[in-house]
């Protein structure tokens, strides 16, 4: 290779690739405007959506749905796209408050189209309506699931030990003791992934706090109560009581949640407290005969008192700036249809928000239906918290409790400080 040709060859390569790049551009600049008959959908974990779009495409010949999934950095990416007016036509949003793509924030900024008066809106339960409506009174999203938190048990593994899922707090501690005797971990805890820190507190406070007083957050806002003065204290104490009773794996602060999932599959861990959709996720990891049982997680000695922590889950909104308003609303109506809802919930491993009269196949939905029937469900509090600082304070607080960096008084104090801004 002569010296002269080295640079020349480089320049030729560059030029030809530049042209190739341009050519690539030509056929892919379809964000924003684009094809009249293609609907773009932003999802955060797109599996359940993929399970239902073919139904829409079959019912609407000529229309195609393009799912744009961002399992990572979803809020950041789509919020930036909304600001730049390049976001997809349909957007997955989060009920209530909490992040840039939550109804309270994106909706109040006018990024989401008003869906008030849609046919399906009449079927919405009051609790969902509240979480999906902006301050201006506009309903902006259709909910897909009613998501709950509870115990997920490897049924085969507990059968082998002759155990059953506990239904009172004492039974929880007995369950832990029996598991330890058998050389197993009772409840897997992977606090290294911060989102899992809140699961047991939410499950316990459903019964101890929010079930007792559904208006608890409002009373906090009014200054009538606080984290420190409520049964949140008891919930955290019980959390640590479980740790002392040997319910958890060793060193939960260093354990990734994926280890917990794996340990449940192989039966070395009997259970975990998590979101109901995890029955599907964990189930997919294991062999076909892996049976997972979902139950509400008790907090008191009376099984009838147990309240299920459950709330409106993933929801979808129309981008206010879409040029395909009509098609987008048609898609939203499709999402609200019972057939779609049930298929979506099944793929998600959860209960549909608007199942109509349709039978739901999952074991989770049977449990949830029972608690809805008895009116013993409580929402996830973070959706109503007034500042975005409370949830991170809870994450940090739980990790601090388990790594000895703080005590319950300190954590409750931090939570109250975060709540009051």
């Amino acid at each position: 290779m002569s010296k002269k040709t080295a640079l020349r060859r480089l320049i030729i390569t560059g030029a030809s690739l530049g042209i190739a790049g341009m050519a690539l551009t030509g056929c892919s600049t379809d964000q924003g405007g684009g094809d009249e008959n293609t609907l773009t959908v932003a999802t955060n974990g797109g599996d359940p959506m993929l399970a239902v779009i073919s139904m829409f495409e079959e019912a609407n010949p000529g229309v195609s749905v393009d799912v744009r999934d961002s399992p990572e950095n979803y809020q950041q990416v789509v919020a930036t796209q909304l600001t730049g007016n390049t976001a997809p036509d349909i957007i997955q949003v989060f009920p209530g408050n909490g992040n840039n793509l939550s109804v309270a924030i994106a909706g109040d900024r006018g990024y989401l189209a008003d869906l008030t008066g849609a046919d399906w809106a009449a079927n919405l339960p009051e609790s969902a309506l509240e979480l999906l409506t902006t301050d201006d009174g506009e309903l902006v999203a259709v909910p897909m699931t009613f998501s709950s938190i509870g115990g997920i048990y490897n049924q085969g593994a507990i059968d082998d030990l002759g155990l059953t899922p506990p239904s009172t707090w004492n039974e929880v501690l007995q369950f832990c003791a029996a598991a330890t005797d058998a050389g197993k971990v009772a409840y897997g805890l992977g606090l290294s992934d911060t989102w899992t820190t809140q699961l047991i507190p939410y499950a316990l406070t459903a019964t101890l706090v929010y079930g007792q007083d559904p208006e608890f957050v409002q009373h906090q806002l009014d200054g009538e109560t606080s984290f420190a003065d409520s049964a949140w204290r008891q919930a955290l104490e019980q959390y640590l009581e479980m740790a002392e009773a040997g319910c958890f794996n060793t060193s939960p602060t260093g354990t990734p949640y994926s280890n917990v999932q794996q340990a449940i599959v192989d039966g070395s861990t009997l259970a975990t407290v998590s979101v109901a959709a995890e029955t599907e996720t964990i189930g997919r990891l294991g062999p076909d005969d892996l049976e997972l049982t979902f139950t509400a997680f008790p907090a008191t000695s009376n099984a009838d008192e147990t309240v299920l922590s459950a709330t409106t889950g993933p929801s979808f909104a129309v981008n206010a700036a879409t040029s395909k308003q009509e098609l987008a609303e048609k898609f939203i109506a499709f999402l609200a249809a019972p057939e779609t809802q049930v298929a979506y919930a099944e793929a998600y491993g959860d209960t549909a928000a608007l199942p109509g009269d349709l039978e739901q196949g999952t074991s989770v939905s049977a449990v949830v239906a029972e608690y809805v029937e008895r009116n013993q469900t409580a929402y996830w509090p973070d959706q109503l918290w007034p500042t975005t600082a409370v949830q991170p304070a809870l994450f940090d607080g739980v990790q601090a409790l388990f790594s000895g960096q703080n005590d319950i008084d300190g954590v409750l104090q931090d939570l109250d400080d975060a709540f009051n801004g």
Partner: protein
């Protein structure tokens, strides 16, 4: 910044300087234009726009904003979390800069030799660099879990007593992260040191060997001064990437447990996207930029002076 710059060359290794006025000084000025244009448009302008927003209350998401002066910065002074993040960042940077350069240089020296497996080994040590830092972080999280490979191996070789809660113990977690970063970055430094060693003339080494200098003395007194360019580059790069470290930390601990591995970069991210306090995040970003600038400049001046000595 450029006002304080001395007119000595950045890297000077005692080579006789050429006469001025030859081809060198006629290097075409337009050669700079394409790079400068791209750099100004894509790096300088948007960063200064971002910098400008740090004195407003724009939240990065809405459509309105107004000037608030230095309020965003005032909130940072004495903020416990910000201070802890600065401390962690400096600790992490110090360990990684020293560790990665030491390992990288030793590997480069070892592989710039007649060792038969050198081509394969260069590939082996470079392998970790190929992984995305996020992925490397996840991999190490897997290895360092309480029941992970590291603890298993310790158990297997009879050192079970040394088992640790590597990422869950607030006193250890940051050091565990440093190991992962050095593991991933050593090959990167090695490649730059190897390129530097290519420029060391064989006969210089031979002359030193004939003088009876042992391998260690030969390395320290002959080779090191000759690859000063590579050293300056490497130290500056590890220093800067350490100060801006985000991906590995976030993948391994998300800054936890309970903030004990929070760095400046993770705190900027959390402030912006978890707490949604975008203006504060911009202010933290500006503080980070200033810290990086001051330390990088100090280091640069220091190594440069050493190079002239």
């Amino acid at each position: 910044m450029s006002g304080a710059v001395p007119s000595t060359p950045v890297v000077h290794k005692g080579m006789p300087r050429s006469k001025r006025g030859a081809a060198g000084s006629r290097a075409p000025i337009w050669f700079i234009a394409p790079a400068l244009t791209a750099y100004a448009a894509i790096v300088l302008v948007p960063n200064f726009q971002g910098l400008g927003f740090s004195v407003t209350d724009w939240d990065g998401f809405g459509r309105d904003w107004s000037l608030v002066g230095f309020d965003n910065f005032a909130g940072l002074v004495g903020d416990r979390n910000t201070l802890r993040a600065v401390g962690n960042t400096i600790l992490l940077t110090a360990i990684v800069t020293v560790g990665q350069n030491l390992v990288g240089l030793l590997l480069a020296l070892g592989l710039h030799s007649q060792v038969k497996s050198r081509y394969v080994l260069r590939l082996v040590f470079f392998l970790p660099v190929v992984l995305t830092p996020i992925v490397a972080g996840f991999l190490w999280k897997y290895l360092l879990a309480p029941t992970g490979t590291v603890n298993q191996v310790l158990e297997a070789i009879g050192l079970g007593a040394l088992q640790q809660n590597w990422l869950g113990d607030p006193d250890i977690a940051i050091y565990s992260i440093c190991v992962a970063i050095i593991w991933q970055g050593a090959g990167y430094s090695m490649v730059i040191y190897l390129a530097g060693l290519q420029g060391v003339p064989e006969d210089t080494l031979e002359a030193a060997a004939l003088d009876g200098a042992g391998p260690i003395r030969r390395t320290v007194s002959v080779v090191i001064p000759l690859i000063n360019g590579a050293i300056v580059v490497n130290v500056l790069l590890t220093l800067i990437s350490g100060l801006k470290q985000f991906d590995t930390v976030f993948a391994m601990t998300e800054g936890g447990p309970s903030g004990s591995t929070e760095t400046m970069a993770t705190i900027v991210y959390k402030t912006a996207f978890t707490l949604l306090e975008y203006p504060t995040a911009l202010a933290q970003g500006v503080v980070l930029t200033v810290i990086v600038g001051v330390l990088a400049f100090a280091q640069y001046r220091l190594t440069q002076r050493k190079a002239l000595a």
